[in-house]
């Protein structure tokens, strides 16, 4: 089966610009998670979708971040306007069931805000 696909793989934008990251989960996986790793820190949870509904967005840093999952398929994460501290690697993960089964991660989008 195809894995979790993320694009772009890299994005360099200027402070104040807008960037949209996309994640295509494994087909049939209702659970979709966004995580982020900033330089020198551990990977941290951003939010969780179950189908098209936001289950938990407690990890979203602020209201400059907006995540959507229309139709319960792919998801987008928009940062507007981007700030320097938003730089990092954004990972998407999906799973069929919610539980202690582990997740399939995408390769990530490396975002650099200059």
């Amino acid at each position: 089966e195809a894995g979790v696909t993320q694009f772009p793989s890299h994005s360099v934008i200027e402070k104040g610009q807008t960037v949209t990251l996309r994640c295509d989960p494994i087909s049939g996986h209702d659970n979709l998670y966004w995580y982020r790793r900033v330089m020198g820190k551990e990977i941290k949870f951003l939010l969780h979708f179950v189908k098209e509904s936001k289950q938990d967005e407690s990890g979203m840093p602020n209201n400059r971040f907006l995540a959507e999952r229309t139709g319960g398929t792919y998801s987008t994460l928009k940062v507007q306007p981007a700030e320097l501290e938003d730089s990092g690697v954004y990972f998407c993960a999906s799973s069929q069931y919610r539980g202690d089964y582990g997740y399939t991660f995408g390769s990530g989008t490396r975002l650099t805000v200059v």
């Binding site: 990977i43 990972f91 202690d100 582990g102 991660f105």
Partner: protein, 112 residues
């Protein structure tokens, strides 16, 4: 806030040596998951341990979950250069909707 302390952060050893990576927390997790990440890729699941005291083996890798489900270890026997990579532990909890709490990772280099 749950935290996972992973150690060591960096480890460089010779081929054939044994090593252990530790993940410790003051919090209880319903599962501890171990991932391996290659440069430019996302984490890839190696194993999930869910029962206190559980031991799982994957060839030369042995994973253990502490009795109290607050800590875990990864032991590699006779390390090979192919084991070189970034190893991450991550805890999940039913009460937190199974979102993962990650350790900072261990960057392992096995020299031939």
């Amino acid at each position: 806030t749950q935290l996972l302390e992973q150690s060591p952060q960096f480890l460089s050893i010779q081929e054939g040596e044994n090593l252990t990576v530790y993940c410790n927390s003051s919090s209880v997790f319903s599962s501890l998951q171990w991932y391996r990440q290659e440069p430019g890729e996302g984490p890839v699941l190696l194993v999930t341990v869910v029962t206190g005291g559980e031991v799982k083996k994957l060839k030369r890798l042995t994973f253990q979950f502490g009795d109290a489900r607050k800590d875990s270890s990864l032991h590699i026997t006779a390390a090979q250069p192919g084991d070189t990579g970034h190893y991450l532990c991550a805890g999940a909890n039913r009460g937190s909707n199974y979102k993962l709490t990650f350790g900072k990772g261990t960057l392992l280099t096995v020299n031939p």
